[in-house]
């Protein structure tokens, strides 16, 4: 699945609008993912996953930063996330199905905070982008 020029500009626009809120969105994405899909918690046995957890906030910041990086290099997501891709393949080995779950929660966060931003076209582009990120992060799994 290929991101069209329109998709790329929609993605850049979304992250441009989100701006400094990205970190908070990242934290809320994780909070929603752990609440909605409890099986995702199995990857964080070492975390305090309670409400307001500093660890979840910190990790959400990292996740958001990676999405922002990918959006800023939307012409070469694989290049931008190459190190993260290695990390996921060699160390983290998060089952590929979970990237979809994270993506769904990120879309919910954007929709709930910014409904006017997530038009159907932008929704489509962002969904494609999140799929592409998931694909890159699992590309070296085998």
């Amino acid at each position: 699945m290929v991101l069209s020029p329109n998709d790329k500009s929609n993605v850049k626009a979304v992250f441009g609008k989100i701006g400094g809120q990205a970190e908070a969105y990242g934290a809320e994405t994780l909070e929603r993912m752990f609440a909605t899909y409890p099986q995702t918690k199995t990857y964080f046995p070492h975390f305090d996953l309670g409400k307001g957890s500093a660890q979840v906030k910190g990790h959400g910041k990292k996740v958001a930063a990676a999405l922002v990086e990918a959006a800023n290099h939307v012409d070469d997501i694989a290049g931008a996330l190459s190190k993260l891709s290695d990390l996921h393949a060699q160390k983290l080995r998060v089952d590929p199905v979970n990237f979809k779950l994270l993506g769904q929660c990120f879309l919910v966060v954007v929709a709930s905070h910014n409904p006017s931003l997530l038009t159907p076209e932008v929704h489509a582009s962002l969904d494609k982008f999140l799929c592409a990120v998931g694909t890159v992060l699992t590309a070296k799994y085998r």
Binding site: R32, Q104, C105, V108, S112, L118, P120, H123
Partner: protein, 147 residues
């Protein structure tokens, strides 16, 4: 039989009570056809689906979206027997409509996003949990009679 906690039932009912079924149904179906364009394969007789604008304005999409979400309301009213509620619809989707059950999951996820966009912060993580559970149960029930 699916177990619903009192909290889950309350969260489902309270959201559903505020849903404009016609608007949300139309929006959910339109977004499905836009975000996952391959789903248009089931609607070749719906006329113009050539662009997001065409899809959103398409009266057949709106009408069918309303029909689908109205049917969803049956699940909300019969949380303790969703399989039974959708038994005939499941047979229909398999034998007549030939719809891959994966499409029910896709529509369910889209519905969640539509609800989030309408309810904002009121669509809390707990709400999302209850509703993702519900759409999953509905998808499962619609696939149950497939053979």
């Amino acid at each position: 039989m699916v177990h619903w906690s009192a909290e889950e039932k309350q969260l489902i009912a309270s959201v559903w009570g505020k849903v404009n079924v016609e608007e949300c149904g139309a929006e959910a179906l339109a977004r499905l056809l836009i975000v996952y364009p391959w789903t248009q394969r089931f609607f070749s007789n719906f006329g113009n689906l050539s662009s997001p604008t065409a899809i959103i304005g398409n009266p057949k999409v709106r009408a069918h979206g309303k029909k689908v979400l109205t049917s969803f309301g049956e699940a909300v009213k019969n949380l303790d027997n969703i399989k039974g509620t959708y038994s005939k619809l499941s047979e229909l989707h398999c034998e007549k409509l030939h719809v891959d059950p994966e499409n029910f999951r896709l529509l369910g996820d889209i519905l969640i996003i539509v609800l989030a966009s309408h309810f904002g912060r009121d669509f809390t993580p707990a709400c999302q949990f209850a509703w993702q559970k519900l759409v999953g149960v509905v998808a499962h029930a619609l696939a149950h009679k497939y053979h």
